[in-house]
């Protein structure tokens, strides 16, 4: 059974040999191949090289395009500074001082730089390991992208002050995200991750009224194009997950503060739960033995379908042995 079959088997609720592992690796990935973060985020060849190295050296089940929060924002017209050792910095958000949507460039595959680079990365993954590994593309969720375009505090205020504008902006973000997701699927991605980190910082009521319907349209759009959907919201999402449960996602990432047993109760039974050891205390600062045992225990607690994953990005300074332990095969158990 190869990584792709294992991954798809778990998603479909079939018996597999062992549990797929899908850690989020960005800073670690760049460091692993000795590349600068500027190249990891700005040059798709470096991104591809790093992800292939992780798949080969650690047995990660997926080839991934996640690199930083600014891929779409850069193409909407933001001013971005690429840094050597860490995530790029947004020097100017495209609508920091204005609510005029016509000032935005519309990100488009084939026309704008960073969306096009994502497609090239996926094509390279396809050439390397189509149907051998899962190929995971990403789009920003509506709240995350709107925050990136306006600046996060501005957008948080818009949600109360000017709901109409906030919704119009999120609607545009969803339109663009669906087009981008479709292009990624056409290029070879089987899964599209949706990152909507900032959604954890609002009340359940606000999330349900303003963000959920837009995330739902995005999820439906990705499904229509034939992709699986993986939702990633960083942080403590316990309060919004009862609402998010009806989005219809295929894979739900849970950060370490999330009660995964509760998630199993809330979400449809066939949703893959991915998570959720604390990336810092549970992975970086832990020991290989503990990491492996904790994932076995977690798998038995959560039950099938399940993917091994830390709560969020695995930090750069994680010892190699600890990442190896995260990726150490865990036998599939058909009775859980």
């Amino acid at each position: 059974m190869n990584n792709y079959e294992r991954y798809m088997g778990m998603v479909k609720g079939e018996q597999v040999d062992y549990v797929p592992r899908i850690p989020i690796l960005m800073h670690y990935a760049a460091k692993h191949i000795g590349a600068s973060y500027a190249d990891f985020a700005g040059d798709y060849n470096t991104l591809v090289k790093a992800n292939i190295a992780l798949a080969e050296d650690f047995g990660v089940s997926q080839l991934d395009i996640m690199s930083d929060p600014w891929r779409e924002t850069a193409d909407y017209g933001a001013e971005i500074e690429y840094l050597e050792t860490t995530c790029p910095q947004c020097l100017k958000h495209p609508l920091e001082d204005s609510k005029d949507l016509s000032l935005l460039t519309r990100p488009e595959v084939g026309k704008t730089t960073r969306l096009t680079a994502a497609i090239k990365a996926i094509e390279a993954y396809k050439a390397y390991g189509y149907k051998e590994y899962s190929i995971t593309g990403w789009v920003e969720g509506p709240a995350a992208e709107a925050s990136d375009i306006r600046g996060v505090s501005n957008f948080m205020i818009d949600l109360i002050d000017d709901e109409e504008f906030a919704c119009e902006l999120m609607d545009l973000c969803v339109d663009v995200a669906i087009e981008f997701a479709k292009a990624q699927i056409a290029a070879g991605a089987d899964t599209i991750g949706v990152g909507d980190a900032i959604a954890s910082q609002m009340s359940a009521d606000m999330y349900e009224r303003l963000v959920f319907p837009r995330e739902k349209r995005l999820v439906d759009g990705i499904h229509e194009a034939g992709g699986l959907v993986r939702l990633h919201i960083c942080g403590n999402t316990n309060h919004i997950l009862p609402v998010a449960a009806s989005l219809g996602v295929d894979i739900i990432d849970c950060d370490w503060m999330v009660d995964v047993v509760k998630v199993r109760e809330l979400f449809p039974k066939n949703t893959v739960i991915a998570g959720n050891l604390d990336p810092v205390e549970g992975i970086m600062e832990s020991t290989p033995e503990k990491i492996h045992q904790n994932f076995i225990d977690l798998y038995h607690k959560v039950g099938n379908p399940y993917f091994v994953n830390a709560g969020c990005e695995v930090p750069m300074d994680t010892p190699k042995e600890n990442l190896q332990a995260l990726c150490k095969p865990i036998q599939y158990n058909s009775s859980i």
Binding site: T86, Q89, S153, I160, D161, M202, H239, V280, P315, M316
Partner: protein
Amino acid sequence: MMDLKDLTEAIKTGNRTQATSLTQEALDADLTPQSILDAMVVGMDEIGDKFKRNEVFVPEMLIAARAMNESMAILEPSLVKSGYKPLATAVIGTVQGDLHDIGKNLVSMMWKGSALNVIDLGTNVTPDKFVAAIKEHDAKLVGLSALLTTTMPSMKATVEAIKSEELSDVKILIGGAPVTQSFADQIGADGYSPDAASAVDSAHQLLGIR
């Protein structure tokens, strides 16, 4: 006589139009600037407590802070005229390498509302910049924020830089999601607060107020 409870409520609910007009009304009615400020601070304290209990979230905190800031701008000239002086000057910033600023901004706003003069240095602030600002403004309190485990070492470096300058009477308070009391002890900071509401209590405690 007007009831300052309405001003407290307007701040708490982030209704800036009402908050600013009630501030003006209170001044016109010759209420003391200090009593007006106190009413505003109660509003911020109450919303801060709700935030701590997860009853309100970031958007509600941000609009309350905005109502407070705009009302303060109206009140400030009268406050100054009445002989009011901030209790102390505090410097705050997010440490080098870290660009997260929502939490730091909330702490800064709460401090402003609690009679501190706050100098906000923004994000990605080097140890040198912190030291220079403490000297320039004769700050008695410095707040350091870090949201990334990878930037916690910058926090340590900043504490070391401040200590090595023998700025002995400045107190250092640290915060941010991955930061803990034991980390504060480990790097020699004077205190740690888990959220913006307790950051006010800790600041006052460290400064020997209350």
